[in-house]
Symmetry: C2
Subunit: 210 residues, 2 copies
DNA sequence: ATAAGTATGTGAGTTTATTCACATTAGTCA
DNA sequence: TGACTAATGTGAATAAACTCACATACTTAT
């Protein structure tokens, strides 16, 4: 599926296009031009065509893109035509809210394990039926339940150690909500979500952009 | 403070540098080289120097950067040497968890208002003492309490309408957790947080990068 | 069947961002 | 005081990303 060196920004945009296209699936239109999609996503139309061109020709000249075909093609490109199993580590406020959050399942991501170190929490059942296990069982359970991606929602001090354990357990993808930079071997891909960094950008714009 | 056209990526990295530097404040070292900081943040040392050079000369040649001075200087650059007031809109799982989350207050962001449309929720008190108001009161309360940034944690269908109301109330900064692209006038700066997009990137890497 | 209209796919040009490499300057030690 | 070391600041080189502009190809209507 991968033909050349693809800009990371392209991959991110493909997700954005797919979100917008999915919204349109229920509507009466079934074809869209790069121009209209670009407006919806806030990007340049040529950008969309270039992004897609890395992977093939998905449009029809003079017509546009058939929405449901394109959704499936982007899914193929991103590797989303299959379920992905998630493990949540850290079931504080944020971790618990994320497990309950409907957006993951909506896009094909399924929580199959949950871990914490707090004895108060271990053994408890989450709203989706998952039982919280102790982090010491992480390696075994991750392998047993075929977890593909680990989500870290622990306090910052524990994030690195959790990451180490995830890597040991054979996990190659981590979504990190802890506000620290975690170090992992090259085989493992980490994405960080830090909303205070986004707030800093907003603060900067409010202070100095006008 | 702003001298030239600054890359957005630079602003984001400054936040990252600051996070790393803050961690070091308690330690015994009080000077750091761009090389060491770069390793901590996973970037190129020259990148750090360039980023800082947009705003002035903060280091000492032959020595490095004094950590606490640099933290303060980055705060000045980003506009963080003052408190910022936040309003949360949408107190479902995620919104409630975010209000309780300690990371905001830690970096100088204070929730001063909370809104929802659910009559079950309006009037309830949050853990930090805030009372949830109805969204219909948004404009008045935002102005009364001097809210600077609105955080949208509503279902996707309501996000645009909430954004419109925030803009009407005079808000120029929005942090959007709803998985839709919201449209606002140029005066308003929007940052999006969409973790399923990050998961898509991970899925792509796990599927095709080796 | 042909012409008109439309929107893709893409090479070339442009802009933006990153990295290199070194001159510069502060500190240290003899 | 002067030579040596270390790490910044920065112009130049490189690399990456984006946008333009148009040739290409599909659809529709006459």
């Amino acid at each position: 599926m991968k033909f050349a060196k693809i800009p990371m920004a392209t991959i991110v945009r493909l997700s954005i296009y797919m979100r917008a296209l999915k919204e349109l699936l229920d509507s009466d239109v079934d074809v869209i031009s790069s121009e209209r999609l670009a407006k919806l996503c806030g990007v340049n139309p040529a950008q969309i065509r270039k992004d897609l061109a890395y992977f093939g020709e998905f449009g029809v000249r003079g017509v546009g893109y058939r929405i449901n075909e394109l959704v499936n093609q982007i899914k193929d490109i991103l590797g989303l035509n299959r379920p992905w199993n998630l493990a949540m580590v850290g079931l504080g406020n944020l971790g618990s809210a994320l497990v309950r959050h409907g957006n993951f399942i909506k896009h094909g991501y399924v929580f199959t394990a949950a871990f914490d170190t707090d004895p108060q929490k271990v053994g408890k059942e989450l709203s989706n039926g998952l039982i919280i296990n102790h982090v010491s069982e992480l390696e075994d359970i991750v392998q047993e339940r075929d977890v593909h991606v680990g989500i870290i929602a622990t306090p910052p001090g524990e994030a690195q150690s959790v990451a180490n354990q995830l890597v040991l357990a054979g996990i190659n993808g981590i979504l990190n909500f802890a506000p620290v930079q975690i170090q992992v071997p090259d085989c493992c891909h980490v994405e960080n979500v830090d909303f205070t960094i986004k707030l800093d950008s907003i603060a900067y714009h409010l202070s100095f952009e006008d």
